[in-house]
Each structure stands twice: as structure tokens, then as C-alpha cells.
């Protein structure tokens, strides 16, 4: 098997995630798209680990997974706060920072 099979799969998944982050308005769905991006990164890490015949790739993927879990937990807490304050989780309506 080619290394590039896995790297290209990771690239496709990454770009789909970027599309989701850009186009979605629902806060929960933006977080789902970020999960797609993190999974793309993990595929790359594990593929490189196997390619270089080292356990380092898997070790780094194991660091990414808890970071993703923490990110989702904090992200959903923030989305929940936004929902409580505004009764909506439309991320495009959060424009108070605009001058």
C-alpha cells in the first residue's frame, strides 16, 4: 500500500471539515466539522508512524484524542452558554465584536 493513499484520504477529510467550518451556522455542527479536521490529522500521524516504523506517530495521535475531547467539552459548554443567553446558537449572529 502507498503512503499517499492515507495522506490523500486525510487531505480530503481535512478539506471537507474546512468547508463545514466555513459554511455551517449551527454551533454544534461547527464543532462536528472540527472533529473531521482532527480525525484527518490523526490519520496522517498514524500513517507516518507506520511509514517510519516508529511508535511516535501513534503516541502523538494519542495526545490529539484527549485534546479533541477537551475541545468538544469546552466548545459545547460555550455553545450552551450562548444558547442560554440568546436562545439561538447561530454563530453568524455573534457579531458584537464588529466595529
Amino acid at each position: 500500500m502507498l503512503l499517499n493513499q492515507f495522506l490523500l484520504l486525510g487531505a480530503v477529510l481535512f478539506c471537507i471539515g474546512v468547508y463545514g467550518v466555513l459554511v455551517r451556522r449551527n454551533g454544534v455542527m461547527v464543532l462536528m466539522s472540527i472533529e473531521l479536521i482532527l480525525n484527518a490529522v490523526n490519520i496522517n500521524l498514524v500513517a507516518f508512524g507506520t511509514h517510519l516504523q516508529q511508535a511516535t506517530g501513534q503516541a502523538f495521535a494519542l495526545f490529539v484524542i484527549p485534546i479533541a475531547a477537551a475541545e468538544v467539552a469546552v466548545g459545547l459548554a460555550i455553545v450552551l452558554m450562548i444558547y442560554r443567553n440568546r436562545r439561538s446558537i447561530d454563530v453568524d449572529s455573534l457579531d458584537e465584536m464588529k466595529g
Partner: protein, 178 residues
């Protein structure tokens, strides 16, 4: 083209292709479906497919972690998020920022072109040395991963533990009603 070049390991390549198509199809549905609940369930398909790809890469430990943490915990967290924000179940047409779509498609396609070009240019036909190797020779057994995490990367591991504690405490403080 890519599959034909690697004459060896036909079964693995067919498995890769089937799972890869499943992942890409489900991922596209995650970002295009107009039903929040369906997006969460398509996300399960993507995560399960990625776990299967880890098995193909001889990384069985991380595949199991993927199933437990992502499918077991993170997807449940998402479903709770959907429930607590009282999202409209069934179709809703305000999930997408529609004027943004052409821009987002352009950005994604340009990024994919750039990434694919540089990957094909640099890694070309590099083979994964999977054929005829044991998992131990590839350095991918759970014991070798444990040695790497708990010896080489012990301090980052502890930092990640503290970070997880801090982040989850912060999430509880944020989400608590008071």
C-alpha cells in the same frame, strides 16, 4: 492509478478503497445534511471508518481508543449538545450560511488541490512497508506505543492529563446554572 501501482496486498487495497469511499461520503453528508441528528449519526460512520483505517495501518490500540473515546464519548456529548440546545429535529433550512457556500467550496477545493499536489509531488510512490512485516517490526504494538508515551513523552503526557482536568472543570463551571 494509485491502487494499480501497488500490485501487492490486493485485499487490503480493496478494503481501503471501500472504507475510504464510506468515510468521504459520510463526511460530505456531515457538512451538507439539513438535519442535525443525521449529521451526528453520519459522524459516527466517519469515526468508525477512520478506526478501520487504523487497523489497516497496523495500529490496533489507537483504533480501539478511537471507538471508545470518539464513538463512545464524543458523539454522546454531541447528542447531549443537540438535546440541550433544543435544536429543531427533522429538516431545518437555516443550518447553512447559504451566501457563503461558493466561497467555502472554492476555499476547500483550492486547499485540496494544494495539499494533493504537494503530497503527490513529495511522497509520490513511497510504499508503506507493511507486507511481510510483523506489528512489532513496524514498531506499532501496544507495548511499543506505551514505551513511547510513558518514557519518551512522559512530560507531555502529564501535561495533557492536567489540561484535560482543567478543561473539563472549566466546562462544568461554564455550563453550570447558578
Amino acid at each position: 492509478m494509485i491502487l494499480a501501482d501497488s500490485g501487492l496486498m490486493v485485499a487490503q487495497n480493496i478494503g481501503f478503497a471501500v472504507i475510504a469511499f464510506m468515510i468521504v461520503g459520510a463526511a460530505i453528508r456531515v457538512v451538507t445534511t439539513d438535519n442535525v441528528m443525521h449529521a451526528a449519526l453520519y459522524l459516527v460512520m466517519v469515526l468508525a471508518g477512520v478506526a478501520a483505517q487504523y487497523i489497516l495501518l497496523a495500529a490496533e490500540f489507537i483504533a480501539i481508543v478511537q471507538v471508545i473515546v470518539y464513538i463512545g464519548a464524543i458523539v454522546v456529548l454531541f447528542l447531549f449538545g443537540i438535546m440541550l440546545t433544543e435544536a429543531k429535529l427533522g429538516k431545518s433550512d437555516d443550518l447553512d450560511n447559504k451566501p457563503m457556500r461558493p466561497v467555502a467550496i472554492a476555499v476547500a477545493v483550492a486547499l485540496l488541490g494544494l495539499l494533493a499536489y504537494s503530497l503527490v509531488d513529495y511522497y509520490g510512490d513511497d510504499q508503506l512497508a507493511l507486507a511481510g512485516q510483523t506489528t512489532a517490526e513496524l514498531g506499532q504494538t501496544t507495548a511499543q506505543v506505551a514505551d513511547s508515551v510513558f518514557i519518551t513523552y512522559l512530560i507531555p503526557f502529564e501535561v495533557v492529563g492536567v489540561l484535560l482536568l482543567v478543561a473539563l472543570t472549566g466546562a462544568i463551571v461554564l455550563a453550570r446554572r447558578d
